[in-house]
Symmetry: C2
Subunit: 339 residues, 2 copies
């Protein structure tokens, strides 16, 4: 990396506003982000086109995943997918993203380049443009290699009504694919159990899934079950609606290796993060059609996993043997820095 420094590691001087910072932005960030309009000199830039017919939505998210690279992605691709997905489940088409990087002194430039490439590739795949960015460098032992913060802006069609307030007793809950893949993949990458096998993160854009569900009738609400998993989404629904969310354990899709790792280590996949799934609530009469639309997109593990039952707020898991157990709201953090 003779282009950015004599050294191949990030130094504090890469954050000082001077030559090394400018070169880092010009040689590492700008080319990989692949937006020829990205003005690396401007304090603020024009939001390119806000003339679209609809409502503009905004979302923001921070990313601290450890390790920075894991099977199926890295913190860069994760940040873009996470931002795209927050807009997608809100019914919007993601358009523009701003990017903040907090880089730790000592990070190898070769790793940073791979992570920034992940940002660029995921942006192109998802059809979003990075329109503004900022980098800061923090001292050794004051960061986790790289933290990212992104803000996304997207366009939602007029009249699309989605939200927790639209959920009614009797509605069904669907999930678009197996749960817990991301959490488990990161856990294994972190702990180096030698168990990775073919387990990888599900991190990807859920925009095609969201758009298929929006086209169908009866859609009430969508969420991407990241931190805290589908159990946390279920709790949010229960708390907001005042009803009981009843999940059927046997219908929740979990890949066998995820199940095996959870059994071995004592995790419940319902609490583990997904980064490429949607949990959706649909009206009872639309549930089968919604499931069929997901399957026709190739999501063969998509499933109707439960329903909203009138009653007091709470989340109940019906076990395969006909028993019931309460899924409590998360207290301790089972897996910190998962996203």
């Amino acid at each position: 990396m003779a282009t950015t420094s004599d050294s191949s590691f990030i130094t504090m001087a890469h954050g000082n506003g001077g030559r090394l910072m400018r070169e880092l932005i010009e040689h590492v960030f700008a080319p990989a982000l692949g937006n020829p309009d990205l003005d690396t000199n401007a304090d603020a830039v024009r939001l390119p086109d806000l003339s679209g017919d609809g409502e503009w939505l905004i979302t923001t998210d921070g990313f601290t995943v450890d390790p920075l690279e894991f099977p199926g992605g890295n913190i860069g691709s994760l940040a873009i997918h996470g931002t795209v997905n927050d807009l997608a489940v809100s019914g919007a088409t993601p358009c523009y993203v701003t990017l903040n990087a907090f880089i730790e002194e000592g990070l190898a430039l070769s790793i940073l380049e791979r992570l920034v490439r992940g940002i660029g590739e995921a942006s192109r795949e998802s059809g979003v443009r990075i329109v503004a960015g900022d980098t800061k460098v923090v001292g050794r032992g004051q960061g986790g290699g790289l933290y990212l913060a992104t803000t996304g802006v997207g366009l939602r069609p007029h009249g699309l009504q989605l939200g927790l307030d639209r959920i009614r007793a009797g509605d069904r809950i669907l999930v678009s694919g197996p749960v817990g893949d991301h959490g488990t993949a990161v856990l294994l990458a972190r702990e180096q159990f030698g168990l990775s096998g073919d387990l990888q993160s599900d991190a990807t854009s859920v925009l095609p899934i969201a758009q298929a569900l929006i086209k169908g009738p009866g859609l009430r609400f969508m969420r991407d079950p990241t931190r805290g998993g589908i159990a946390t989404v279920a709790h949010e629904i229960a708390r907001t609606t005042g009803h009981t969310v009843r999940l059927q354990a046997a219908r929740i899709p979990v890949r066998p290796p995820v199940r095996a790792v959870c059994d071995m280590l004592g995790y419940d996949p319902c609490y583990l993060a997904c980064e490429g799934r949607i949990a959706a609530v649909v009206s009872p009469e639309s549930a089968t059609a919604a499931l069929a639309s997901l399957r026709s997109l190739g999501h063969r593990h998509a499933a109707i996993i439960g329903e909203i039952a009138a009653g007091r707020p709470g989340v109940v898991l019906e076990t395969a043997l006909g028993g019931e157990r309460i899924l409590e709201e998360l207290e301790d953090d089972p897996l910190p820095r998962i996203c």
Copy 2:
């Protein structure tokens, strides 16, 4: 802080998506940010009003200042002012802000509350609304107490043309007040030299200054000289225009205590961060009027500090005794984590 936890310190569980995180957001962030419309449950929210007559600008910035609190502000107020200022110097009126917080395990909740209050107060003073936010918790020794990332959206009137590309040889450079206050105040707060005296950060919104300059004729370009100070702004001008930026040392306003600290510790105030000043380039015939408009706002130390001289790119400081010295582009970081 019985409302958020039995403990009075941030734990990893404050970042897991579960109860403690929800309570932290509901009890600490939402009330202090003072926006009744802030939906703490939504994945993405509507950008309230994009119907204004003008162009929408976007900016993003990260904040890592150490210490978190310093005379004249804290990382929370700094983040808002920094974002407001990036929009203001671009000619826009700041409207909306998104906020990311990376909180380190072990941070006292009482400190976090003060910092978040700083965010809320600065937002109200500056007339911006926090429309979306996200919190992450990182482990002890993986953060600096609190890092913030903000994205700001603002409205610039149609037809306002500002930019480095508008600068011409002969133009004058103004600064709206004494330089180096923020850098010196943070340095002293960090090092605890017992020298603080009445030295405090200049961190504030520069929106009134920017708007006064915009109203006058001949304005080419504005920048808030943060990291790297006015020397770095001068280098950016020189690099982009291909001309020489000539600064006159005797005209650069520096408060006596800042000068004293710099002399003692070997810093050059031209490289130290301001967080409440504007460096502006105006046409030669408009410089006196621009200066008068700044002084009429009460900025009695505002000064014309130099000019753009046709010639090869570089920054020259003319000393009081008639000598000259080259102001080099920043190489090493004299003061890391200043903003």
